[in-house]
Amino acid sequence: MSKKIDVLIIGAGPAGVAAGIGARREGAENVVVLERDWDLGGILQQCIHPGFGLRTFKEELTGPEYMHRFIKQAHDEGVEFRTNTMVFEIDKATNTVWTMNKERGIEALNPGAIVLTMGCRERPLGAIRIPGTRPSGIYTAGTAQRFVNMEGYMPGKRAVILGSGDIGLIMARRMIWEGAEVEGVYEVMSWPGGLRRNIAQCLDDYGIPFHLKTTVTRIHGQDRLEGVTVAQVDDHMTPIKGTERYVECDTLLLAIGLIPENELSRMAGIDIHPVTGGPVVNDLLQTTNPAVFAAGNVVIVYDLVDNVSDEGLIAGASAAKFAAGKLSGSARRIPVKGGENVRLYSPQYVTGETDATIFMRVTHPIEGACRVFAEPGLYSQRLRYARPGEMNEVKIKAEQIRNLPDLQEIVIDIQPV
């Protein structure tokens, strides 16, 4: 009989590795991180471009470099990793986690606390229902990235990129560097999905056209993709007749958004927020199943890995406290409400047990001076602008909450000034 696992973490990406560190630092004895791949690091192992960790390490690292540092820390802290191990079921009645591994077979684990750090997945083609055929050559940008950066294969010779999420922009440049052509990037919205700097350094640097309010309306080709029809869209995102254009390409890369990966969360019987697509959590990153915590892109899709790691540390520490019976069961549960310009945010509840950072995105770009705030009078910060592609933060101190024993609700919003 192996010793009891205090904190079990599902997924060894940036959130999971940090959660392992956080749990050990909080004193949890036996901390195990499960990873379905043979390697630790999650998606960052295929994000070989620089741009990670400026806040944490004061320099811009590539994905593998960023993870290398965290994994080393985790090893130093005594976190145990089990690779090639996949969780395929969670029994919500007993919080039993079912795992599989070729050597160990199928096992049931009953940890003191669980941290969900499964990350997110890419929105697939089906989600946007483009008419036409179903040839080969259509990939999510991340799948193409894996082929190019991990397997050493080219997905195609001439690509069209649909959606302007960061992975799509990064892959545009990556394809160019490997000798492929990129015909253009098409974004249905009137603003870019990814960071401006990625439009500058991945598209503008290479003269790749970027088309806003334009989308792919048809897919052509029986075996391999032969082309796509693109068309401009009106304000209701309906294609405008007469603007259709045929674009020859053998590859369509999709960068149309990321969705938190919550199959296991649902099995664990926790509430999923309809807008974030991730678990409903409080500022301790505790879900509606008290023994289950969650951090990183499984909760809400972040822009910066630094935030993911920070949240991982918090979730790991909270889980360690819970496993040790040190997390008060009678914590306050003050709901956070988003104002009219807030599309999504997390956490949804504040306890006052810890300093809280609430992450949020606006519904539409606010160009020009604005203010991000939390009422009643908890936080206020001026901004030069607010854009959906760039998260904003509200910071609330535990003390502020403690000083307001009758606080019923916190409202966050961003308003032009």
Binding site: P131, G132, S136
Partner: protein
């Protein structure tokens, strides 16, 4: 290559005929141009096992539908395929449509469809709470079911192969071969000649063209496209059965159903077209499906759509099946124009064709019973549906069953390896046989992994692996080599 029977096409019709004939001591070749099965209309359809009330008494369809339905209820266990015996409803929105239900009820009785009855709209809503409040009555057909059509076709052909039939994929029949008497000698294909005294035309949407090679111009195929939405399995239980709209001249109308695996699905349109191979979905078609789906199920959760697809069915001008042996050339048998309820009817058609050969073509081949015929065929283990003890046992026996390849459908490496052992050579073949890639990410996660396993197991480079044969390669070469080759070409 010499055979007793060559079957053109391995859709559900061809595969069922192959299995039926494998009950006799015959050398059977089944030829299909696709790289994986099912490929044509058998892949993209409503996966319905019809109750048998819809076909006009006296038609060929009416003759085979009810017997076929009965056979499937038995075959599901024999062949180990999913058949959700859920029943179906035809929904009426007006008195006029209710009147039509009465006609269907009478038809059902004449056709011998058991248990068919008319229920009130409220009764329907007690069983299916998500249907429209405007439905006033429904025709209930308890024997109707929904089959996993991917499994069914593969099971059928696999069973035929277990009993000695040979399957040739990527084999396109280009002509018929006739002997000195102008009777059937075999077929010419892209892979050479297949000689046999009996050739069965189960060419689906191409069956009209094939028949014309035999000089049979008595029917014409009108390729008819049907478009569909397929939704995430998290929709399981949104509805529990198969909902028809009241039929019109255009077809059976838009339906809403829960597939045998629990996905909500809706379709099909019925758009006549020239091109039998045009399976592209269209904005108009999809809009029509959505409208029809929402009429039956107002809150149809289309936001959970995971893919859209289209199939092309082999409609005929008469609207009926074309099943017969030709007087000339002797040895040529049509199992043509098989459209809805073709999937349901296929086993019964197959039985009929065996009889036809006995009666009409005894001079060409003799049907001696194969006493070694094995009716049972076991499916590839379906990890998703197994209880934990069976999973543990399986993983202990073969560690490949302790490795997930497809997350959405919980398909293990063991299943993929088994599919390859059973003949899968493409990503789509693995998908058809294991369901890897049929889930909400539509292969985003598992496609590269399945490709790697195919490459490793078959000993072919990763960039030679195809999605569905032909030119559908996933990759165009190795990085670095690609760049250097391009630079080299530019410098020349």
């Amino acid at each position: 290559m010499n055979y007793d029977v060559v079957i053109i096409g391995s859709g559900i019709t061809g595969a069922s005929i192959a299995r039926e004939l494998s009950k006799y001591k015959l050398r059977i070749a089944v030829l299909d141009k696709a790289s994986e099965l099912p490929a044509g209309a058998s892949r993209a359809n409503s996966s319905m096992i019809h109750g048998g009330f819809d076909d006009k008494p006296g038609t060929v369809k009416a003759k085979f539908c009810v017997p076929g339905n009965k056979m499937w209820h038995k075959l599901k266990d024999e062949l180990d395929v999913h058949l959700d015996e859920c029943g179906s409803y035809v929904c009426a929105f007006s008195d006029e449509e209710t009147k039509h239900l009465g006609k269907l009820l009478e038809q059902g009785k004449t056709n011998g469809a058991p248990g068919v009855e008319i229920i009130s709209g409220d009764e329907l809503r007690r069983k299916e709470p998500n249907v429209s409040p405007d439905i006033v009555a429904a025709l209930w057909s308890p024997e109707a079911g929904i089959i996993n059509n991917f499994e069914a076709v593969n099971a059928m052909i696999e069973s035929a192969r277990i009993n000695g039939a040979d399957l040739y994929l990527e084999t396109l029949v280009t002509d018929l071969l006739l002997d000195g008497n102008q009777d059937i000698r075999g077929v010419a294909t892209n892979k050479g000649e297949f000689l046999a005294p009996v050739v069965i035309n189960a060419g689906g949407v191409h069956s009209g063209e094939i028949a014309s090679w035999a000089g049979d111009y008595s029917f014409r195929i009108i390729p008819t496209k049907g478009e569909y939405f397929l939704l995430d399995r998290t929709t399981r239980g949104f509805i529990h059965s198969f909902l028809f709209s009241c039929p019109s001249k255009a077809g059976k109308g838009i339906t809403v159903l829960q597939t045998a695996e629990g996905n909500l699905m809706s379709g099909p349109t019925a758009t006549e077209q020239e091109d039998p191979e045009d399976r592209a979905t269209t904005p108009e078609g999809l809009a029509e499906v959505l409208k029809g789906a929402r009429r039956l199920v107002p809150n149809f959760p289309v936001n959970l759509n995971i893919t859209t697809f289209a199939g092309v069915r082999a409609n005929t001008e008469s609207g009926d099946f074309e099943i017969r042996a030709l007087a000339k050339p002797r040895g040529f048998v049509n199992a043509a124009g098989i459209k809805s309820p073709g999937f349901t009817s296929a086993p019964a058609i197959a039985e009929y064709i065996a009889g036809l050969i006995k009666e009409e073509l005894a001079d060409r081949i003799t049907l001696t019973p194969n006493d070694k015929f094995i009716p049972e065929r076991r499916n590839i283990p379906r990890f998703l549906y197994m209880d934990m003890d069976s999973r543990k046992a399986l993983a202990e026996k073969d560690p490949a069953y302790a490795q997930i390849v497809c997350r959405c459908e919980t398909v293990t490496e063991g299943q993929v390896l088994e599919a390859i052992r059973r003949g899968a050579r493409t990503i789509t073949a693995v998908k058809m046989m294991t369901r890897a890639g049929t889930g909400r990410c539509q292969g985003g996660f598992c496609c590269p992994r399945v490709a790697e396993i195919l490459s490793r197991e078959l000993g072919i480079p990763l960039d030679e692996i195809t999605r569905h044969g032909g030119e559908s390669k996933l990759l165009v070469g190795k990085t670095k080599e690609f760049l250097l080759k391009k630079e080299g070409a530019a410098n020349e």
